[in-house]
C-alpha cells in the first residue's frame, strides 16, 4: 500500500490551458504478432500449421485504394503487430502510398518494428529510419515505451526490446529527422518508483515534445484478470508527467471516455485529445 501512486486533488480553476482535438486515422498493419507481449491486444500468435495459415496483409492494397485516405485528418497512425512474411519494402511502399494520398502527418511504426526489420533483414537501424522518413513518416510511434523498467519488461514482454534499445533507436530517429514520440502505459498498481525509472530514460531524448498516456486495457490480453487502472491512477500519472516534464504536451486517446473524464483530463494537463475518426484494418 505504501508504494501506491497517490493522487493529489486539484481544483478546476487550476486547469491547464489548451485542449487540442486531434482527429486520427488509425491504420492497423496486422493483428497477428510473434512477440507475445502479455499486455498487448495485438499479441494473437498465429501458429504456422495447415489449418491456421497466417493471413497475408492487405495494407498495401488499402493504402492505394481505401476511400478513408481521401478524408482530412490531423494525424495518421500506422501501427500493428509484427508481421510474419511481409518484408520491410512492403511497409515502406504502403507508407509511401499513404503519404502520397493524404497530407496529414504520419506517425508510422515504432521502435519495436524498426528493431524487428533490423534483425530480420540485417539492415542498419539508421537505414530503416531514413527510409521511413523518405516514405513520408513524420514521427516514430511510441510503441515499446510502455514502461521502461527492465525487470518489469522481462516479466511482461521478454522478447520485446530493452529500455536502452528503445532509447537508442529513438536517438537515431531524432538524428535522422523523425520526431520522437513516447508513451507511458498506466497499469493497475503502477508505482511512483516505476514511473521515475521510466522518466529517466525519457530525459535522454532531446526532441521529446509529446508523451502519450495509455491506460492499460485488459480486455483481450493475457492480463485480463488484473483489470483496468483506476481513474485516480491515471490522473496521478498525468500529474507526475506534468511535474517532471512541464514543457512536454500530454496526449491521450479519448475514444469511449465519458464527458466527465474528458473534463478531468483537461484540468489535469492533457492538452492533446486524440479521437479516432476512421480505422483501416
Amino acid at each position: 500500500m505504501e508504494d501506491m501512486l497517490r493522487y493529489q486533488p486539484i481544483w478546476p480553476e487550476s486547469a491547464q490551458a489548451g485542449w487540442n482535438l486531434i482527429q486520427m486515422l488509425k491504420i492497423t498493419t496486422t493483428r497477428s504478432c510473434w512477440m507475445r507481449c502479455r499486455f498487448c491486444d495485438f499479441s494473437h500468435f498465429v501458429p504456422m500449421i495447415d489449418d491456421h495459415p497466417v493471413p497475408s496483409l492487405s495494407l498495401l492494397q488499402a493504402s492505394q485504394s481505401h476511400p478513408a485516405l481521401a478524408e482530412a485528418y490531423d494525424l495518421i497512425k500506422i501501427r500493428g503487430g509484427l508481421s510474419f512474411f511481409e518484408p520491410w519494402s512492403y511497409f515502406r511502399s504502403a507508407i509511401r502510398h499513404v503519404h502520397k494520398r493524404n497530407s496529414a502527418p504520419i506517425q508510422a511504426l515504432s521502435a519495436v518494428e524498426v528493431q524487428h526489420f533490423h534483425r530480420v533483414e540485417q539492415k542498419p537501424v539508421q537505414e530503416v529510419l531514413e527510409e521511413l522518413l523518405w516514405a513520408g513518416a513524420t514521427s516514430l510511434g511510441p510503441g515499446g515505451s510502455e514502461l521502461l523498467v527492465d525487470s518489469w519488461r522481462e516479466e511482461m514482454a521478454s522478447l520485446r526490446l530493452s529500455s536502452r534499445q528503445w532509447l537508442s533507436i529513438h536517438k537515431i530517429a531524432e538524428r535522422v529527422g523523425l520526431k520522437s514520440q513516447a508513451s507511458l502505459m498506466v497499469f493497475p498498481g503502477i508505482t511512483e518508483e516505476q514511473i521515475r525509472v521510466h522518466f529517466e530514460i525519457f530525459r535522454e531524448l532531446k526532441s521529446l515534445s509529446v508523451i502519450e498516456v495509455k491506460p492499460f486495457r485488459c480486455l483481450g490480453t493475457q492480463l485480463e484478470i488484473m483489470g483496468n487502472p483506476h481513474l485516480l491512477e491515471v490522473l496521478a500519472t498525468i500529474q507526475l508527467i506534468k511535474k517532471s516534464f512541464p514543457h512536454v504536451m500530454v496526449a491521450m486517446n479519448i475514444d469511449n471516455l465519458s464527458r466527465d473524464m474528458c473534463e478531468l483530463l483537461q484540468w489535469h494537463g492533457v492538452s492533446r485529445a486524440m479521437v479516432t475518426k476512421d480505422v483501416i484494418e
Binding site: M1, D3, M4, R6, Y7, P9, I10, W11, P12, R38, E155, M156, P188, G189, I190, T191, Q194, Q222, L223, I225, M226, H230, L231, L232, E233, S258, R259, D260, M261, E263, L264
Partner: protein, 225 residues
Amino acid sequence: MTNPEILWVPCLKMNSQDPAYGDRLIRMFLLSHYERGHVLFETGTICSTPSYSSLMPPTIPASGSVWRILPESPVELTTLQNFDGFIELFVSPHHIPITVLETLWPGPKIKRVILTRPKHLSLANFVSAIEGIRIQFPGLGLWVDQLTTGWDALTYLLAIFPDLQPWQVQDNELDKLLSIGQQLGRDVLLTDFSGRPPIKIPFLPRYAPGPARKWRRVPIYPRFV
C-alpha cells in the same frame, strides 16, 4: 492525521408492497447488510426499522420521523418549521432552497442534504455548486447521489471534498467504492443513521507488483484463509 472514512449506506425503497411482504423484505435487506441499511417509505405504512425516512406528500410525516423532501416537490418553510421531526433534503444545484437552509441551519432539524446532478450540468459547475453550499453552510452533512452523478465525477468529488459522502451506491457497485477508498487511502464503512457502530469493509485484494507469473493465480485475501 488519518483521512476521514467513506460511508456506504445501503438503501431500500419501499413503495406499494403489501405491508406483510414489506416487513419481510426489510428484514432480509437488513440481514444481508449486517443489520445496517436505510429504508425509504414512499407509502403511508411505516414499519419499525432503525434507520428510515419517509416521503409522503402531501401529508406531513409523524413527529420524530425523518422527512425526505425532493426538489420536484418543495415544501413551504412554515410547514417545515412546524414539523416536529427531522429533514432529509434532496437538492439540485439549479434549485437550492437557500431560504430553507438559512432558516433551519445550523440546527438539529436538517439531518443531511443530498445533492443530485442534473443531466447536462458540467462537472466544473457541479464542483462550484458544492463548494458554494459548503462555504455558505459550513458543517452541513453533504451527500452526493451516485446514480445521477456517475462514477468518474463521484471519484473526483470524493477526492477533492473529503467530507462529502456518496449516496445510493448499489450493492453490485460496492467494489467501485472500495477501489476509490483504496486509492485515496480512506476506509469504507458500512453504516446507516440508526446510531449503531459502523462496520469496516475490507478492501479487495490487489495484485502485488511482483512477478507477473503469480498474477494469474486467484488472489486470496488473508482474512478468508
